[in-house]
């Protein structure tokens, strides 16, 4: 399963970034191989349409799951159409790695 998680820094121990569209980094985790990859969010500096730009990027990464603090209506619409599961950080989650672990243990809320 491929997870993309919004992050402040390009590393698995990075603090989470609660913003989705304008997050600086997206950390990609492949649960089969346990490999991390850091990806710069191409839409982070856009004046408008950042949510859709980031969503398109996540979709193109063939993600199954995206985890962030919130999703706007445009990004959420794109993820629904692409059948990508949206999940939200819980209070306990501080780092990107924790977010992945918590999600895989079914401890994170699913954003409908």
């Amino acid at each position: 399963m491929i997870l993309l998680i919004s992050a402040q820094q390009p590393e698995s121990q990075s603090p989470i970034n609660k913003r989705f569209g304008r997050t600086e980094w997206l950390m990609k985790y492949d649960s089969e191989t346990a490999q991390w990859q850091s990806l710069a969010n191409p839409g982070s500096q856009r004046s408008g349409g950042a949510g859709v730009a980031a969503a398109q990027f996540v979709i193109d990464q063939k993600a199954d799951v995206v985890i962030s603090g919130a999703f706007g209506p445009n990004a959420a619409g794109a993820f629904r159409a692409a059948n990508i599961t949206m999940s939200l950080f819980s209070k306990e989650v501080k780092t990107v790695q924790q977010a992945a672990e918590y999600f895989l243990q079914d401890k994170l809320e699913i954003f409908e």
Binding site: G43, A55, N74, G77
Partner: protein, 290 residues
């Protein structure tokens, strides 16, 4: 001649100044007044037009024919506003992000895109009791993009020869303000003598200078705040053309829908004097360009 009234900071008195200028000149000039503050138009409260003409304002957004579309993704790639996304076996359109530029249609290799009008507001016009040709744009609530309406409002009714156009700008220093100022012969910048007023005045000066539009400043609520505007004048050499005093009487009158020059009839002469100065500056600038 086209005079745009702008401010940067909101609530400094753009509409107060724009409507008072129009009313002061109504007897001697043929005036066209455009309320470009389409998110919250309010100049009609002081000019009392009877709207007799209405038109929908729309932008053209893409509609994709799924049968024709080959999912090449060219439209998504060329859209600068991320109003399109390629998701699985379809292209999604986000109408509220679309600026109606037509790039997707132009670049589609199989002509699968048709442009359909997406209404975002309306245009209205009519005469005021002083025969001012008044028109305004009104953006539908929840629609995010005001610039296309302003552009359409400016083109809707062509000015008559020798007509003076007064444009009441939205607040801020965003695309909507840039669109209002575009093509103006003079920018009348209304500010208040506070650090906030000065900060935003500096932002709007940047736009005006980029466009090479001559400008003058109106200081409203003169007497509050501090001396920041004088320092500004010394730095930029932009003339202060009018000072409107801070007064409870003016505030109470405006709140009741009375125009400034009805509350303070003495100010009419000062508005006329300001217009003479503006005319002179515009003329000098035009001659300088020649």
């Amino acid at each position: 001649m086209r005079i745009a009234v702008a401010s940067g900071k909101g609530g400094t008195g753009k509409t107060t100044v724009a409507t008072s200028l129009a009313l002061s000149l109504a007897n001697e000039q043929n005036i066209r007044f455009l309320d470009c503050d389409v998110e919250a138009p309010n100049a009609h409260l002081f000019l009392n037009p009877s709207f007799t003409k209405r038109q929908d304002a729309a932008i053209l957004i893409p509609e994709i024919d799924a049968e024709q579309c080959t999912l090449c993704g060219k439209c998504v790639e060329v859209c600068q506003f991320h109003a399109l996304a390629k998701v699985g076996k379809s292209i999604l359109t986000f109408a509220q992000l679309c600026h109606g530029c037509g790039s997707c249609t132009w670049n589609c290799p199989v002509n699968a895109i048709q442009e359909i009008p997406n209404p975002i507001g309306k245009l209205e016009s009519g005469l005021t009791p002083e025969s001012i040709q008044f028109s305004r744009g009104v953006l539908t609530i929840s629609e995010p993009m005001s610039t296309p309406i302003i552009r359409q409002l400016k083109r809707w009714e062509q000015p008559q020869p020798e007509q003076l156009t007064i444009l009441d700008s939205p607040p801020g220093a965003s695309c909507a303000v840039v669109e209002t100022l575009r093509g103006a012969d003079f920018a009348l910048l209304v500010t208040e003598p506070t650090p906030f007023g000065l900060h935003d005045l500096n932002q709007i000066i940047g736009i005006v200078q980029e466009f090479n539009i001559p400008a003058g400043v109106v200081v409203n609520r003169d007497g509050i705040g501090n001396d920041v505007i004088n320092a500004f004048h010394d730095k930029h050499n932009i003339p202060v053309l009018l000072r409107i005093p801070f007064s409870l009487e003016i505030a109470a009158g405006l709140s009741a829908g009375t125009s400034l020059i009805e509350i303070k009839p003495d100010l009419r002469q000062e508005f006329l004097h300001m217009f003479t100065q503006i005319t002179r500056i515009v003329k000098t600038t035009e001659e300088g360009e020649k």
